[in-house]
Amino acid sequence: MAASEASDSEEEELAGYGTALEPLPEGERIKKPVPLQEQTVKDEKGRYKRFHGAFSGGFSAGYFNTVGSKEGWAPSTFVSSRQKRADKTVLGPEDFMDEEDLSEYGIAPKEITTTDDFASKPKDRIKEKARQIAGVTASIPGATALDDLIAPAKITIGVELLRKMGWKEGQGVGPRVKRKPRKQKPDPEVKVYGCALPPEGSEGSEDEEDEYQPENVTFAPKDVMPVDLTPKENVHGLGYKGLDPTKALFGVSGGEHPSLFTDGSEKTSNLLGDLRHSKGRKLGISGQAFGVGALEEDDDDIYATETLSKYDTVLKDEEPGDMLYGWTAPKQYKNKKGMEKEVRYIGKILDGFSLASKSSAPKKTYLPPDLPRDYRPVHYFRPVITARNENPLLLQALAESTGKRETDTPQQNRHTLNASQRRELLGETALKGPSPSVLEYLSGKDKERIKEAKQAAEQQMKTQTLPQQSLNISSSSDGVNHKWQMALGEQLATPGSSDFKPFAKNPEKQKRYEDYVESLKQGQKDTPESHSDPGMTEWERGREREEFFHAAVLYKSSNSVLSSRFTRAKHEDDTDKVEVPRDQEMDIDDKESAVKMKMFGKLTRDKFEWHPEKLLCKRFNVPDPYSDSSIVGLPKVKRDKYSVFNFLTLPESTTTTITQTTNEKIQQNINPNKPKKPSRWDVSDKEKKKNDSVSEFLSLARSKVDIQQQQPESVIEEDRSRTNEPLPNKAVNESTDPKKEEESRPSMDLFKAIFASSSDEKSSSSEEDSDEETHQTPSAMPNSESTKPANLPDASSADVQECMAVTKEPDLVPPLLKEELDKKEEFGPRLPPVFFSKTTQKHEPVPLASSLEANQKEKPKKNKEKHKAKREHKHKKEKKKKHKKHRHKGKHKNKKSEKNSSSETADSSDSLSDIEEEITDLSSQELLRRLKHLPAMKQ
């Protein structure tokens, strides 16, 4: 508005665009913007605009939704009909519309706007902005400018061309015609279903006559509607269409507003059958379901009467020319002579072109080929008869029916080969597993026999070759035989090995059969004849051959069926065998000497294949060295479970005769570095085996106590001097102790080894039990945990005897045994005692532990005294007992207390003496009592 005003006024040079802002009044502060909740919407008249519904955005109709106005209800225009009776005013929808409805954003805008078709470009502000930003930020500035210039074509090139040629939307294509456009209307006689439209034929004809038709006026041909192929998806009746609000106003101001009325009318024309034009209706609301509207003037014939005249009474061809090709299916004009004429091009012929005078040659059609008489339109699959088929009769029948003898070997067809044949062809070695050749089972004698038979057969064959060849039947059967021989392969029934004797009643025949099978196996074609009874006729021979044949096949098939069902076990589940490592560490004796000579290297080294677990390799980030093997650890092999060889690597032998063991032990002890005592696991294993022999062993030992008393003594002396004392402090003490002998104490393992079986069988195998037991009974045995048994790795096993002798005493065995059980855990290099007691005397005292030191200094003396006293006491008490035993017992206690004292922590040093008292005073009865508790605890 402002722009136009500005341009109108000539005196001003400036051209202004847009609405000018009101100049700010001087000195007045700018008002605060009204908050959103207080903003109101008013229409042009200053009325508050009401929004109907939050989302519908409806308009307010009338005056506050009434039909009236501020002044009440009054017709907008009242014209007295007195003066203007003649000119009927036609009311359109606009008369009932508010002004805002006709404004730009109303439902019927009156302003002329450019439609999309003619707009250069749809203006999308957001997109525009985005594009501008993109244009700035893009790597090539202004690259998006090209996008602005090039817009995708909205209309197809065909439409474009048509427009250039003068075509307009809504028109048909073709040369303009002179006819009246009304003529195009369908025949009034055409049947209309559903709500009938008012008949208009008479009306139309009247119009036709009335209307003036200038000569030079031509009309565009009627547009042909494309066949509407949209599927019917609703449940309405055929052709029914509900009221479409966009069509509500058609027909009235059709020309006036292209966006609303023309488009809508064009689109709906096909649905309404183009009838509305002819009817001259002025009003839009004209659904078939609606009766006559209030605005409709001609309300005639709402209820159309069905008359028979509307129907066809005669069967005749439908009349062409209604031009409604789009509506109905194309008809076949059979009665028309010139079919070509009918389809002739009727359009405008372009310059330089002319219609063809003669039609092009009709397309040549080719007839389908003549089918053979016996042709069946179904493919027949021949049953595949392989040589392995188990029905020989069928195969034979087939072979004969084909007429041609299958003289060619089946090898030529690779599909008929079985695995073994293929293997032969490929030259592979036979599998050892599931399908052993029967020949392998034959004894040498049998093989001999077969050989002879074969040779005989060959000879016979040579002699009979000529006559055989002359015989047709034999040659034919030869072919079959050969085939079968190939088919049966190695799995033929073997007479020698099998108990399958189909002709057992007739030994001669059976023999012939066996020969036959053999020969088949040997790969001879014509053997049946050679083995047959010379006295038999040709026919008999043939029969027998068949018989053999079938018998062989029968047996073979069942055999093969069975063999296919079972596979040979990969692993023999031999219960007498046990898995042991394949590679054993070599004999220690050699190594021992090598070590002595310091010849380390090859002599002392054993190298094994060792398979780490896959996951371990993964965790170590190392590729699995044996990625394809499933073995873990050392490869194992099966050995006899009770084989001595499994235990040969063990250094200790477990002979039961005392003298032998003693000797052996002595010998072993001579070795200064006896490698080790066996681990407790080994011992337990052996003990299990030895269980029954232990009692015998004990009784023997009992009787020989006297003998051993001398023997071990010397051994012990020797041994002790060699053996490094486990406890250094003790060693120091012992050197000054006059009663050295007491210190040579047998290895705990040996005690264990012997008594484990007699006391608790489980103890040897279940280490945990005894261990738990020690945990559970700390109060009962205060020193059980802290005592470290002097379990020398290099302890001499000669002490076994000694020990044996001691423990034979019935009342002393249990305490000793108990001790062993408690200390069972300990073997291998020990841990040093927590604190040193005696040896520290020699060193300068550490200030920190001075008080402790004092305690400890006193303690050993006390101990010793007590031990002595104890010993004396024992001597008195058990005078009858053997001296040896006393020593041992005394030594044992001594040790115990010693250990106790040494292993006590500083905290418990105060109560140490008390404990010691208790310990040293432990009588055998007390020990026995504890022992009784022992089994219960274990369970």
Partner: protein, 317 residues
């Protein structure tokens, strides 16, 4: 113009006592440096495991959760985890910061003598008196070991792990080296129960201490004897041995209260360090500097070279 290389200093041995840690946890069964030598772990016979800064002599944390005395411990490469083993037959994985038990691996039939992490702390290897080495997976939650190396005929006393090898010393007098890369097991017979094994820093040799009071340096590839070191006393106890930080010397505990140092090449005794009156049970050499931790009678001593001054102390904590 380049300056001539400074003459390499003669390697010094730790002789100077710089710290004494009174551990107050009974006998210290083992003392171990962590991976960078800034901290150390002590395993006590009172079921506790303690983390120290030996340079400052401060106790940092006590880890309790073992059911019996702790026999060995090791720290992970990133110092985030510890593992320890003990006479309660368990192997325990600890969180360093929180002191909580992350996992307890049970399965050994006897007390567990030694424990080691692998290079990436994904596997814990433990050697036990039950003559097996067990490989425990720290990544998954499976309770059973990945693999049990039960080739030893007697208890496993010592264990070391390199990036692809597991070295175990057993009481059956053998040093076994499991080579994961080659998939082979090398078993070297030493003749006497092995108490401690270790790799040399260059990875070419193995050192084995045995109960015949002898240390033997063996060629890893051939098993040949490269050196023998005697003079100390080790006949009964499980004592540690180690190599110095530059493989120049061999060190071993002794039952006579001293730590012995031998020249690796010559085999001659270079130093006997009087540590205490009792058995020096465990020692650990600093991974990069001449520093030695010794454990004897419930206390741990930290020894440095003579020229060492307090200023050189790495920032602790």
């Amino acid at each position: 113009m380049a300056f001539p290389e400074p003459k390499p200093k003669k390697p010094e041995l730790p002789k100077k006592l710089v710290q004494t840690l009174e551990c107050k946890q009974g006998a210290v069964r083992a003392v171990r440096f962590n991976v960078d030598g800034n901290y150390c772990l002590t395993c006590g016979s009172d079921k506790s495991l303690k983390l120290w800064n030996p340079h400052k002599g401060t106790l940092l944390k006590t880890y309790s959760g073992h059911g019996y005395e702790v026999l060995d411990a090791a720290g992970s490469f990133d110092n985030s985890q510890l593992c320890s083993c003990g006479a309660d037959k368990t192997v325990v994985l600890w969180d360093v910061a929180s002191g909580q038990v992350i996992r307890k691996f049970r399965g050994h039939a006897g007390k567990v003598n030694c424990v080691q992490f692998n290079e990436e702390a994904t596997v814990i290897l433990s050697g036990s008196i039950d003559s097996s080495v067990r490989c425990w997976d720290c990544r998954s939650r499976r309770p059973d070991p990945i693999q049990i190396l039960d080739e030893a005929k007697d208890g496993v006393s010592s264990l070391k792990v390199s990036d692809y090898e597991i070295l175990s010393g057993s009481v059956d007098g053998r040093v076994r080296r499991y080579d994961l890369r080659a998939g082979e097991l090398y078993s070297d017979y030493v003749g006497s129960p092995v108490t401690s094994v270790c790799f040399s820093k260059d990875g070419q040799c193995t050192l084995a201490a045995s109960l015949d009071s002898t240390l033997r340096l063996l060629d890893k590839d051939t098993g040949e004897l490269l050196g023998e070191y005697t003079g100390h006393k080790n006949t009964a106890y499980k004592l540690d041995c180690c190599l110095s930080e530059k493989d120049t010397h061999v060190a071993s505990c002794s039952e006579d209260g001293q730590v012995y140092f031998w020249d690796l090449v010559e085999g001659s005794l270079t130093l006997s360090l009087p540590v205490g009156r009792g058995v020096v049970q465990s020692l650990s050499f600093h991974p990069s500097e001449p520093g030695l931790l010794t454990a004897s009678e419930g206390r741990v001593q930290f020894w440095r070279e003579e020229t060492h001054t307090a200023e050189e102390q790495p920032p602790a904590c």
